[in-house]
């Protein structure tokens, strides 16, 4: 595994290569996303084929993600790994104090989130689950949304399910949350009056100016975004989409975004976890 400075240098070089590449508007550059997906796991799926956002990106971006040494998102995986066994909070414990080796105990866990939490009587997503452990067992301050620590731990835990199929469940008490998320997905918002579905359902595989629209799948989050040069958690991306349509976004970790995350996870049911994915 290369040292961190070398990895940063490799990532920077890769970014330069991407930036220098001519933009794709001719057919030879257009990402060939069809045929790279899976069959929908539910008869109610809106898609004929469920395809990861990976295949809507350029070959250079795909190659950067595929190579763990080149993928700048792995810096967060390493940071998460360090935090995993670092004691924090009044209880003097770390995550490892209860969960031992993440490679064993966390394998497949994140792929099933958001998940119903009996004690809270509502679903929690992975960030919220991490913070429940921090304020509970660790007696530590929860990490604020968007902090490098919370995003790194989320990335690290998602990475323990790498390649495993997304497995959110939407039956039982999750059903009203699924329905709420679905309503939000089709709700048009903002001065531009667009819903998630306006771009990601009706128009994926088309250019929206320089953006090649994907199906808006969540299997790669948190993703390393080349334009931001950092890991971006899912709720920040949702906020960004709402800002783009000139709407007031819901708050990260709000009930609305957890419901939307649940519904989006269902739309991508069965897609392999790619975290940390690399995207534009």
């Amino acid at each position: 595994m290369p040292s961190v400075p070398l990895r940063v240098a490799l990532a920077a070089a890769a970014i330069l290569v991407c930036a220098a590449a001519p933009h794709a508007q001719d057919a030879s550059e257009r990402p060939a996303w069809q045929g790279h997906g899976i069959k929908p796991q539910s008869p109610d799926s809106p898609f004929e084929e469920v395809v990861s956002g990976l295949y809507f990106r350029s070959k250079e971006t795909q190659a950067m993600q595929a190579d763990d040494f080149n993928n700048p998102g792995f810096l967060a995986v390493e940071q998460g790994q360090e935090l995993w066994s670092k004691a924090d909070g009044a209880a003097g414990k770390s995550c490892a104090s209860c969960h031992n080796e993440a490679a064993t105990s966390m394998k497949g866990v994140a792929a099933a989130y958001p998940k119903w939490n009996e004690r809270l009587g509502k679903p929690v997503n992975l960030e919220q689950r991490i913070n429940l452990c921090r304020s509970g067992a660790l007696k530590a301050e929860p990490w604020a949304f968007g902090t490098p620590e919370l995003t790194a731990m989320t990335t690290y835990l998602r990475n323990q399910s790498s390649g495993m199929p997304g497995a959110v469940t939407v039956d039982g008490p999750m059903t009203p949350w699924f329905e709420r998320g679905k309503a939000l997905y089709y709700q048009r918002n903002g001065q531009l009056d667009l819903a998630c579905a306006s771009c990601h359902q009706s128009n994926h595989g088309k250019y929206l100016r320089a953006d090649f629209l994907s199906q808006g799948q969540s299997n790669g989050f948190p993703v390393y975004r080349l334009r931001d040069q950092r890991l971006v958690p899912l709720h920040e991306r949702m906020e960004g989409c709402m800002q783009d349509v000139r709407a007031t976004p819901y708050a990260p970790l709000s009930d609305e975004f957890v419901a939307l995350e649940t519904y989006v996870a269902w739309r991508g049911l069965g897609l392999p976890v790619e975290t940390p994915a690399v995207r534009n």
Partner: protein, 158 residues
């Protein structure tokens, strides 16, 4: 308590005044009349007294903070602009498909001409929208003059 009632009374009076001033178009938009031409809604009369300027309209069409029409549409005569979108149809020859009255209606609110399902935004509308960010509330995407300029430009695309 009395102060609260007083505040409500003032707020109520203001709301009434605003509602009265907003007629006939909501949110202080320039008034316009929609009529059906050949069975399809149209706006025959310009929104402003100043005639549309096609050259100014082309700039609005390209500007990403204004029309951003190239976000979704292709226009061959603007090939020097990079990144034309594909979400909507090409606008080449659009003036042969629609007259100015229908083009004006489409820009103002395309749902009148296409369907409720169209993803094209209404560029001159402030009502019936959800969660509009504070700085855009009560404001259409384009001004009445910009709409006229865009319509003037679109009528050159024969």
């Amino acid at each position: 308590m009395r102060r609260q009632i007083h505040a409500f009374a003032i707020a109520g009076a203001c709301a009434l005044a605003t509602a009265a001033g907003a007629e006939p178009a909501p949110g202080g938009l320039a008034p316009f009349k929609i009529v059906a031409l050949d069975g399809t809604d149209a706006i025959p009369d310009p929104l402003t007294d100043k005639p549309g300027d096609a050259a100014a309209g082309a700039k609005v069409v390209v500007n990403r903070r204004q029309g951003n029409c190239l976000g979704c549409h292709q226009i061959s005569s603007l090939k020097s602009e990079s990144f034309h979108g594909e979400v909507g149809p090409s606008l080449d020859g659009v003036a042969s498909r629609w007259d100015a009255a229908h083009l004006r209606m489409i820009v103002v609110n395309p749902k009148h001409v296409f369907s409720e399902a169209t993803v094209m935004p209404a560029f001159y509308r402030v009502d019936g929208l959800s969660r509009v960010r504070a700085e855009f509330q009560g404001k259409p995407i384009l001004t009445a003059q910009q709409v006229e300029d865009v319509v003037a430009y679109l009528t050159t695309l024969k």
